[in-house]
Symmetry: C2
Subunit: 137 residues, 2 copies
């Protein structure tokens, strides 16, 4: 399993924010703590604010903050915001016109794993993650 860098960064940034639980985060702050370049982080934050996962405020004393409770933000929401989950749920062989009714030889083997993956992403919230007693990020 491999997410794109873009999704990796988005999850890192938001899970850091959820854990710290500040009122407001500046890009500068986030850049210092997480290993993401200035411009790339800002581009991402703009994306995330466009789908209303976070709010951004320009100007002096501006920055980013969550626009809803972290209990209501799921990993799948984050991935969807920056690149879409669809590509991770398709056929393992790269076809795009099959259904469960007409399975090929790989299908049965793949489906169970995929379900598990989807379940993890769509049921784990940022809040849950931020509650773990961890040492990194």
């Amino acid at each position: 399993m491999k997410l794109s860098k873009t999704s990796e960064y988005a999850i890192r940034i938001l899970s850091y924010m959820a854990k710290e639980n500040n009122e407001l985060f500046s890009a500068k702050q986030l850049i210092e703590k997480l290993g993401v370049s200035d411009k790339y982080l800002r581009k991402l934050m703009t994306l995330l604010s466009k789908v209303q996962l976070i709010n951004s405020k320009q100007g002096r004393y501006g920055g980013y903050c969550f626009s809803k409770n972290t209990k209501d933000i799921y990993i799948s929401d984050i991935i969807n915001a920056v690149e879409g989950m669809d590509k991770y749920l398709g056929c393992i062989l790269g076809f795009d016109d099959c259904s469960d009714e007409n399975p090929c030889s790989m299908h049965e083997v793949w489906v169970e794993t995929r379900e598990k993956l989807l379940k993890t992403f769509s049921e784990t919230s940022l809040y849950e993650i931020s509650q773990k007693n961890s040492l990194k990020i």
Copy 2:
């Protein structure tokens, strides 16, 4: 979950071969049946023969055949042959220097899913796949 096109193609080609169970397959034959371009398929087949999953024979009446029993070829072998499994087993956040002893906030959530994924890939053989009664490929 998304494999690279390269892995997708490799799995498609080999699972087709396992199902048909011919002595020998020519590139031409495979290209006609599977939607992979001539040159790309040949490049892949050369890769697969270099790691001894298949044998290739040049010259008139040449072609490709399995070099071992399809019961002994696992999905993970195929992925390893063409691009490596490693990238699919790393950290979901893109870090590369963590261990299970010092988990970050995402770790616990991710590990179980990853185990399942790895298990599926490393325990499913081409033979198993070719035995399924399927309609595609």
